[in-house]
Symmetry: C2
Subunit: 322 residues, 2 copies
């Protein structure tokens, strides 16, 4: 059996806590720091991850149908497999269900889990069912990772690219929290994220040097890529693709739209470093029906700088799961 | 890749819900019904499981130290690997931590996870960290299962055996819930359960025909073994080993002691069917320092009967996680 050595994490309170945990556990910790743990067991190269979501923190029950709660929890975990270019095989879903959510609530949640798994070619291999004060879900995912792409590997001069368009999940949450209902374009991006599994394989096959999914926000995740690869990342605000549902929403200002796209979490798009010579974005868009957009450049150095009109600007903190 | 076909579950509300889920998911579900999912990926035979615990439902924070919370959650999940005679390799721990539990709470929880993993030969491969209203833990475990023992396989005439001695975790909870503090013998069995990993390999090598861990209570888990194997299980109350810390506790009546041993959950001992010819219990006790006790017999038929003085008696429901 072999496991990958630890990968450095970017800045942030959640990651300070994790660094303290890893320091305390010492040699008992392995394979951490990428979106999924990469281990080889008896010749089988595997990627493993889990993603915990709790009602009230990650979603509210009046925002989503039971099926969407299950889909979203499963898709979030599967996105960790996409992030390392793994092939999803199976999921185990642990579900905590409050008293009073009887009827078909659990079946509908699990139907959403099964649908998200099936959409990525994976089966449901089991799980756990308990009572909990809030709807609580932890989805564990198992994939084949014969040729993974990790967070480390980006080199100065690489282009930094992102799949799809950003900002809609954060905008949807902002609308809900303001007491209104987001339009279907915003809502759908929050409720039914799509793990970019086949997109990740395509990017790997075009020479991706480092990759992760956008779960903490574009700037925060660029920080992880920079820390893991030992490089700096420069993002040009003008290039960042903001989702049409955000830019066309009359309630969202232009400044808010950019902020959501730069710092909004739970996008489940891919952030990827590609060689400077890469020029196949049009072919990507044709294959997958979503954009692949260059948003910046890998430089020598450390950290992330966000540039507007050639000048560095400050952006707020990214989304924190912790 | 191959997966095991589903195994039937025993009676109970939690299992009725799971049956409804599996029926709805149809062919998208595989490998469910044993303590761990058994899958073969690229020639590697694996066992996978996860176990979700929530503060207030499975434990209280004033009952356990942070390290014990982590140990117990990890040991419970590893016990699912022991139950199929797998070899633990790695764990991923998803932890939800409330606001206000700052300081070294998380590090201590994860140190308990790491210690339980290390005690079974496994490493910590990662996890997830989120905010949650209660301490919430889901531990995902991965093991090698070249020669698993499943819940199915017991034959009429086999003996039914249990490792260790039962009743202490339920007695500890009863004492806490009555507002007192359990003695160290009771408390330790609740706070620091020991997965019976090497014991399971030993039992497999002596011809175990069916096995699972006692997490729902002896009678409830005997029901799973009976349903999975298509047999009846007869348990003789007089034979059931009640933990010394229960029988010697002045606050526990003799009737309560037997009830805790028959129906108390979260024991994490092994319930195993062995050929009628098996006669090596003394060697087991010498090897592992715990008893291996015959508690009953596999018969043709269905369901579980509990006998006292040769007559069938009724026992209350087992522990329900749901």
């Amino acid at each position: 059996m072999s496991v990958t050595p630890p990968t450095p994490l970017g800045p942030g309170g959640e990651f300070d806590r994790l660094r303290a945990v890893f320091a305390r556990l010492g040699p008992r910790v392995a394979a951490v720091g990428d979106d999924a743990a990469l281990v080889t067991i008896d010749g089988a190269a595997l990627a493993l991850s889990c993603d915990l979501v709790v009602e009230g923190r990650h979603f509210r029950r009046d925002w989503l149908t039971p099926g969407e709660i299950g889909w979203r929890a499963c898709a979030a975990a599967l996105s960790d497999l996409a992030a390392v270019a793994a092939e999803p095989l199976g999921v185990l879903a642990a579900v905590g269900v409050p008293e009073g959510s009887e009827g078909t609530f659990l079946e509908e949640v699990m139907e959403g889990v099964g649908a998200a798994a099936a959409a990525c070619g994976a089966s449901v291999w089991g799980g756990d069912l308990v009572r909990a004060p809030q709807v609580t879900m932890d989805v564990m995912v198992v994939g084949r990772a014969s040729h993974p792409v990790r967070r480390r590997g980006a080199r100065a001069g690489d282009g930094v690219w992102v799949t799809g368009a950003l900002g809609a999940p954060a905008a949807a949450v902002a609308v809900w929290e303001a007491g209104a209902n987001p339009g279907p374009g915003l809502r759908d991006r929050f409720a039914r994220p799509v793990p970019r599994v086949a997109e990740a394989w395509w990017l790997r096959d075009r020479g991706a040097t480092a990759m992760l999914d956008v779960s903490d926000g574009l700037v925060g995740d660029a920080g992880h890529l920079a820390a893991a690869s030992g490089v700096a990342v420069e993002i040009e605000v003008e290039r960042v693709p903001v989702h049409e549902a955000v830019t066309t929403d009359p309630a969202v200002t232009a400044d808010e739209a950019v902020r959501y796209a730069l710092t909004g979490g739970e996008e489940y798009e891919l952030l990827v470093a590609l060689p400077a010579s890469f020029a196949d974005a049009a072919a990507f868009a044709k294959s997958f029906g979503i954009a692949l957009t260059r948003v910046g450049t890998v430089r020598a150095g450390t950290g992330v700088s966000v540039m507007r009109d050639g000048r560095q600007i400050e952006v707020g903190a990214g989304f924190s799961h912790f």
